[in-house]
């Protein structure tokens, strides 16, 4: 059974339909990457999963229908989204950002906070600084750590590389890959940097103006000539 399954999902903003019937799956323990140009509907797909926008069609998580579940409840089920542009709580300290990430949990969270400080030592150094004062890369780390504080089974990551230096991006992708390998965290990743994304992906969906136009394993997609030309610039 797929961890996440979307079947013929339509979604958009008001009268504007952006997704015209998307179907995709994320299996437990997979990193799935959605590639596509600007305006293809990548972010809208993420928002349709996390419940931030209304959607028609079927979205199931661990077999349960979540297509009309609210965003707040979906977090409780085990899906955490790192929004595009990071969306950290700028006025709150780094530590409070992490604590608010654990909002849905009832158990003790201090051990987990320390754990993410170990993974992202730079956050530990800045734990009592306001998140708004962090650099872009640090904010992205914070956004990911905050999402992980809810102990999700599926992490939605919306263009983590946006506006970051290549070296920082590399570092972030290493962390995501390690989380996936060591703990079986499933990840649905939206990325414009196709070369980088294909290195970590197990499977790939290609989105074009709100439709899935191709899908396959990372190897299949990388070796497809027409896709290489359109998305990999080679």
């Amino acid at each position: 059974m797929s961890l996440l399954a979307m079947r013929d999902v339509r979604a958009g903003y008001g009268p504007l339909e952006v997704l015209h019937g998307i179907s995709l799956d994320v299996e437990p323990g997979e990193i799935v990457v959605i590639l596509g140009a600007n305006g293809a509907g990548k972010t809208t797909t993420m928002r349709a999963v996390s419940g931030m926008i209304g959607r028609q069609g079927q979205v199931t998580f661990e077999g349960a229908d979540i297509s009309s579940t609210s965003a707040e409840k979906i977090v409780r089920l085990g899906i955490a989204q790192v929004p595009q542009g990071r969306g950290t709580f700028a006025e709150l300290t780094v530590e409070d950002n992490l604590r608010s990430g654990a909002y849905v949990r009832r158990d003790a969270v201090d051990a987990d906070i320390d754990r993410w400080y170990e993974v992202f030592p730079r956050l530990a150094e800045r734990r009592s600084q306001r998140a708004g004062s962090l650099s872009g890369g640090e904010q992205q780390m914070l956004a990911i750590a905050r999402a992980l504080m809810s102990k999700p089974k599926l992490l939605l990551c919306d263009e983590p590389s946006l506006g970051l230096a290549p070296l920082i991006t590399q570092e972030l992708f290493e962390v995501l890959k390690k989380l996936n390998a060591d703990e079986g965290l499933s990840i649905l990743l939206v990325e414009q940097n196709a070369n980088l994304a294909l290195k970590v992906a197990h499977r790939v969906y290609l989105l074009e103006t709100g439709n899935v136009v191709a899908s396959g394993t990372a190897a299949e997609i990388s070796s497809d000539d027409s896709i290489r030309k359109a998305y990999l610039g080679a």
């Binding site: 977090v75 709580f89 608010s100 708004g132 809810s150």
Partner: protein, 299 residues
């Protein structure tokens, strides 16, 4: 010097009332980004209700607590039924709604209680002419001391709520970034309704304590208090609870000093002018207020 201490002391007590109402304005503004023009009228309405509970036989303390509960319900109910739905369609609409609430509550209070014989709001504290202590030569009325004390304790509790509890963290998260707050599973609707509710409850207490100092209750009870509170929130910064408290107390003292030391020039009539001038000057020269944050975004 006696006069000075007298003005400062009286100013602190009234300032505490302004601060309570200003804190309500700030809590609402931080949560939803709206200035609730009906804040003062909600407080006035709840003050009448407190009086009503008391005259129906509830002991005063119970009546005050019931009044605060009603204030919470009135605030939260307003957010859930009116503000939230109007805000979806138009931000300017919220402004109009809060003005309409201002007028509506004012008229409603006048309609319900206006034809009764004058209502005297009893005080929570000893308020006979002889109930005072003399400190530094100034008359410190027990009632004013009580107001200051209760307001400070309540504000202290609120700051604990904001800074130490999970609910406070949720409130700060929603104020900082509503979208991200939903993404971490915070039910922002509950948080926003509670913010309005807390503001309503504080207003009810402020109104009740203020009403007891003025003698008769009228539907105009909170007009001037609201202006002072708005000036306090502007001076302190609309997103700074601590700023609202400090500014509220300062404006209370400033108003007493101005009226007391310049009786011929400012006197009783121009006190409100001091508050309005504060609003103008702050908005002109430091729109974020003394303690408000200027939004800076790094990318």
């Amino acid at each position: 010097m006696d006069r000075f201490f007298q003005y400062v002391f009286d100013g602190l007590s009234f300032g505490a009332i302004y601060a309570l109402l200003a804190l309500g304005l700030v809590v609402v503004f931080r949560g939803t980004g709206h200035l609730n023009f009906a804040q003062g009228e909600m407080a006035m309405f709840c003050t009448f209700l407190t009086w009503q509970y008391n005259s129906w036989g509830a002991p005063l303390v119970v009546a005050v607590l019931l009044g605060m509960l009603t204030g919470f319900a009135l605030g939260a109910g307003t957010e859930v039924t009116l503000i939230r739905n109007v805000a979806k369609k138009s931000e300017a609409g919220v402004f109009v709604v809060s003005i309409a609430l201002f007028l509506g509550l004012n008229s409603l209070a006048a309609m319900i209680w206006g034809n009764l014989p004058p209502e005297q709001m009893p005080s929570l504290f000893p308020d006979q002419p002889a109930d005072f202590a003399r400190i530094f030569g100034a008359v410190w009325r027990y009632e004013y001391m009580g107001i200051l004390l209760v307001a400070l304790v309540l504000m202290g509790l609120l700051f604990l709520l904001f800074s130490k509890t999970k609910f406070g963290l949720a409130m700060r998260s929603v104020a900082s970034n509503p979208e991200s707050a939903r993404l971490v599973g915070i039910p922002s609707g509950v948080v926003l309704a509670s913010s309005w509710g807390i503001a309503g409850a504080m207003g009810a207490l402020a109104g009740t304590m203020f009403g007891a100092t003025t003698g008769e209750l009228t539907s105009g009870l909170m007009f001037s208090v609201f202006i002072y509170a708005a000036a306090s929130a502007t001076l302190g910064g609309f997103d700074s609870p601590g700023g609202a408290v400090i500014a509220g107390l300062s404006i209370g003292v400033g108003e007493q000093l101005a009226a007391g030391y310049a009786p011929g020039w400012i006197g009783q009539e121009l006190r409100l002018g001091v508050a309005l001038m504060t609003i103008f000057v702050v908005l002109l020269f430091k729109p974020s207020g003394l303690f408000g944050s200027v939004k800076v975004q790094r990318v």
